[in-house]
Symmetry: C2
């Protein structure tokens, strides 16, 4: 469990800026030439308060981002999945600990190299900005979920938004993979584990979802979930909205 910058910094990496930063204008490009690091379950990528030296791209797996409060409570700020980035929107130090939920493969790149590369190349900057703004928008959605919604609304939101993020192949019925534990979900939604369980059980009883093992839930009535979730997730869930059996409430 003790680990900060886990894997060796991969001594001599082939990638070179070579004096012409615009060669490396694309973020994915720069990352692609970095070696893939592997982390086991429960290892930390970095700890809250560490100097924010790197930016990470998750190749595969799931991470939880959290802070521990003085009295031991754990607040999960968010989760990150394969294809997503980590460590983008922070200043000098990381504002949270990033820990693996599943085995994770990721690439890292020095933050200084990123910002250095933006000077000449205006190709990179919009990409970075877009991601930072999306993180901001996600944080604001989270604020609304935590500040205004009740337990059932929060869980419905959670299911819907994770269905949108983690692919699910556009199949029907939609299946959501939830690699994290119920306690993770509770700490993310500002509820207790018992409340999360009760809500899931209720949704199941009412035929809205069908849990399949611990880490997979089939969404059987997306329309009802969307209705419960409120009008959040407008943009993100539009593709899911098209999959509803009957038109959602806001379609009038």
């Amino acid at each position: 469990m003790y680990a900060s910058h886990l894997l060796p910094q991969a001594a001599g990496v082939a990638y070179q800026l070579s004096g012409r930063p615009s060669d490396a204008a694309d973020l994915d490009c720069m990352l692609a030439s970095q070696p893939v690091e592997k982390l086991a379950v429960g290892e930390a990528v970095f700890w809250e308060g560490d100097t924010a030296s790197h930016l990470f791209q998750i190749v595969e797996g799931c991470l939880r981002l959290y802070r521990i409060l003085a009295d031991g409570r754990r607040a999960i700020i968010g989760f990150r999945f394969g294809g997503e980035t980590l460590g983008m929107a922070c200043q000098n130090t990381y504002g949270y600990t990033a820990e693996t939920v599943t085995a994770v493969r990721l690439r890292r790149i020095g933050r200084n190299r990123i910002w250095a590369a933006t000077d000449g190349a205006d190709l990179l900057q919009p990409v970075l900005m877009a991601r930072i703004f999306e993180e901001m928008a996600a944080a604001q959605r989270h604020i609304i979920v935590l500040g205004q919604l009740g337990a059932e609304e929060r869980v419905a939101n959670f299911l819907i938004s994770f269905a949108c993020r983690t692919g699910s192949d556009r199949r029907r019925p939609v299946a959501v993979e939830l690699p994290m534990t119920r306690l993770d979900i509770a700490d993310y939604l500002g509820l207790t584990i018992e409340t999360v369980c009760r809500v899931i059980s209720k949704f199941k009883r009412e035929g809205m979802i069908a849990p399949d093992g611990r880490h997979r839930i089939i969404l059987k009535d997306i329309s009802a979930l969307l209705h419960l979730a409120g009008e959040l997730e407008d943009g993100t869930s539009s593709d899911l909205a098209g999959m509803t059996q009957r038109p959602p409430a806001w379609a009038n």
Copy 2:
């Protein structure tokens, strides 16, 4: 009450990029040459969903930033005071409505001009980044407050963090100016107005604060408030921490 982009765009402004953007490397500089616009109480600077065309700097006054949910609930995302900026961390459209709490004087500048100017000048970019990252950090603190803290903890946090932000001239006892209504505070903290009142009354009863009119509260026992607020606000409140009568809990 009807108003989106209120004041005339101040037709021909003297300020020119003049082909050498680095001339205008400093954000405050660029803003300083913009005309000051004035808004009355209750007017909107922009509405949620408006195209994010401008960035604003508040010269004086207070704004509330909020979203209205489908069922009419209002979630206040944050407040902005004189000296702070607005409309920085958003992509294509504003993610919230910005409405004046008091009379407000502000300056605006086209977002396209800002980003255009960053291409050549690396003086501007760090300033923008720092502000965006600070917004992000504030959002994450808000997430923790809403997700993990009880009513008293939330109000204590609110008082402490606003004492830090709105000057208070480093005088003792510290006075906090709260231009917003109790309902605003409630919608910001995810509580009801009654709960906010009760908590304030309790703090008063216990001698931790001394309300002075509706919009001013004197913090009499900052140490106790800090203790209640938990270990959040570490960085921001360090200057306040020095003003405590007795050493705070975490000073052991």
